[in-house]
């Protein structure tokens, strides 16, 4: 059960690394020092060699994404950090920002050096105002120490970071919606291509990465990409933070080496397990937008490929656990309500489809269901929503519900006939 704190450096060095001095004592800015001694292309190659994959949810190789940016576009190049962390069950980036903000700042600086960016943005969700203030303070301190500003990347080589606050919209975590929002528009996704690497912020080449991805760069550049690539397995190297919540006794964030820990170990050994007498019923292992899996998948190894093999995704690492006291239809209804609320309304299949999912599941739970007719109606909806809209929100709404229906069909059929009384919620306080 190997735990390794690469992005959660604060856990190894006392709980807060919120001053520059503390961060530097903990080995901070050694990664940037190494980076600035090599040409930008060598830094890009190091990202690639590390095997680091995007930690926001899609898992796209970070080095490849960075290599898509044209070098001679004749326009400014931007780096945007996606700190919109809104995927239900995910709270890993919040801890990086709260306790280790300079590692994020250093990571953004490293990425910006590699792609030739002079102005980076951190787009942070409006609900993270407390966290945004930690970033404001850290950036101000980095600026006064010369880590940001006119000579940040060497004499006469400027670089700075702007924190941009959202105002409450899950969809702004989708990268093109995020760019729209940052450009002062409604946060509705763009048609791709062109991809942000070519035409991103203000129509310029833009690298967008998640907080955890960028915070992984300082240790990669300090200890070397081969050190990182050697952890885990070939396709899923490095460490990943899993946020565990729901019916576990010790919810929290756990940074683990990919490919070495099982879901059972994460839930029982790290997150404190369940209440006595309870068993795992359902797990959404990568945030709420992934297919749900049941107790028979608990021995799956946590990495991208192994989770795919059991029919789900690693996603953001937001692992929501429900025990056998919970009702799967009620849980699915709650997720459908989430997606209905968060659909931006641009694409009809998503805007209308998520509403229908919520309506049908809602009447089933309330005991107003229409039996098998509602089950058939649900099944007919999935294909009319999935794959028919501009961004993955609609797919994310279908996957957890469709998989739940496949896995727990008997329960759906029963609830469609009889309804589902509200279960007694878990009230045990978190342990530890």
């Amino acid at each position: 059960m190997p735990e390794l704190n690469a992005v959660y450096r604060h856990r190894e060095f006392g709980d807060h690394l919120t001053t520059l001095a503390a961060y530097e004592r903990a080995g901070g800015y050694l990664g940037l020092k190494e980076t600035l001694e090599m040409p930008p292309d060598d830094a890009l190659y190091a990202f690639h060699r590390s095997g680091l994959r995007g930690r926001g949810g899609a898992g796209f190789p970070m080095g490849r994404k960075a290599s898509f940016l044209p070098k001679d576009a004749g326009k400014p190049t931007y780096v945007v950090c996606n700190a919109d962390e809104s995927e239900p069950g995910t709270f890993k980036d919040r801890e990086i920002i709260e306790h280790n903000p300079f590692q994020l700042i250093e990571g953004i600086t490293i990425a910006s050096y590699a792609v030739g960016c002079e102005r980076a943005y951190i787009y942070i969700r409006g609900e993270y105002e407390s966290q945004a203030r930690v970033l404001d303070d850290a950036i101000a301190e980095a600026r006064s120490a010369g880590r940001l500003g006119p000579d940040a990347l060497g004499p006469g080589r400027p670089f700075d970071i702007t924190v941009y606050r959202g105002a409450g919209a899950y969809i702004c975590g989708e990268e093109t919606a995020l760019l729209e929002s940052l450009e002062g528009k409604r946060g509705q996704p763009r048609l791709k291509p062109p991809f942000p690497a070519v035409a991103g912020l203000y129509g310029c080449p833009t690298l967008i990465n998640n907080v955890e991805t960028l915070a992984s760069l300082p240790p990669i550049m300090h200890r070397g990409p081969d050190w990182y690539a050697a952890m885990g397995n070939e396709k899923s190297p490095g460490t990943k933070v899993f946020s565990v919540s729901g019916h576990v006794l010790s919810p929290g964030n756990f940074e683990i080496v990919l490919g070495e820990t099982t879901l059972r170990e994460l839930i029982y050994d790290m997150a404190g397990g369940l209440r006595p007498g309870r068993e795992v019923k359902a797990v959404w292992p990568g945030g709420s937008s992934v297919p749900v899996i049941g107790a028979d998948s608990l021995d799956v190894i946590l990495d991208y490929e192994a989770l795919n093999e059991v029919g789900t995704f690693l996603g953001s690492g937001g692992c929501i656990v429900m025990d056998d006291s919970g009702c799967i239809v009620r849980a699915s209804w709650r997720l459908a309500q989430f997606y209905r609320h968060e659909s931006c309304g641009k694409c009809t299949p998503c805007r209308e489809g998520t509403g229908w999912l919520a309506n049908i599941l809602g009447r089933m739970v309330r005991g107003e269901g229409r039996g098998d007719e509602d089950i058939r109606l649900l099944e007919s909806l999935f294909g009319r929503i999935e794959g028919r809209s501009l961004c993955p929100l609609a797919d994310g709404a279908v996957m957890p519900i469709q998989s739940a229906l496949e896995l727990f069909r008997d329960e759906f059929e029963r609830v469609a006939r009889e309804g589902s009384p509200r279960p007694v919620p878990m009230t045990e306080a978190p342990v530890g």
Partner: protein, 165 residues
């Protein structure tokens, strides 16, 4: 909220964005801090200060949950009701707060002190069930008694100089 105040607030950030349209969201957030929501006069002032039409500014504002187009109470009590919080009793917590405030679900109390809302995941599932007062620190895990204390404490506070929605 005068146009000049918004312009003064925006002045130091103008150099940070290649397009002044990016100033609309910061301006809206700033204007909202004045009275806690965005009446038409505030929209007009933001439009004037940023150089875009009021209709456009309103279309942007209407997209975002935490920009309020209707009058709010002094404090917005935002109770997360998404899955992780639901499993740990968010519906019961919300019901208790509504009862304590004398509300029938979401809404604003008659004395204008509190606007109670169900919100989607606020990124604090480790503290479930949790809530946020405005956009303050995510508080949790909360039992009914904790929420009651919190509301009593807020009631005793003087009105904030600015609203952090």
């Amino acid at each position: 909220m005068t146009i000049a105040e918004i312009e003064e607030y925006l002045a130091p950030m103008r150099g940070e964005y290649a397009d002044p349209r990016s100033l609309i969201l910061p301006a809206l957030r700033y204007a909202q801090g004045h009275v806690g929501w965005l009446p038409a006069e505030s929209m007009a002032a933001v439009a004037e200060a940023t150089g875009f039409s009021q209709a456009y500014v309103e279309s942007v504002a209407s997209f975002y949950d935490r920009l309020y187009l209707d009058e709010t109470g002094r404090y917005c009590i935002n109770v997360c009701v998404t899955l992780s919080c639901m499993l740990r009793g968010s519906d019961e917590l919300f019901g208790h707060i509504a009862d304590y405030l004398g509300l029938d679900g979401e809404g604003t109390t008659a004395d204008g002190m509190f606007t109670l809302a169900k919100v989607q995941c606020i990124g604090a599932c480790d503290r479930a069930p949790c809530l946020q007062v405005d956009s303050g620190m995510q508080l949790g895990p909360l039992e009914a008694a904790d929420a009651t204390c919190l509301i009593d404490d807020l009631r005793a506070e003087p009105a904030p100089a600015r609203y952090d929605r």
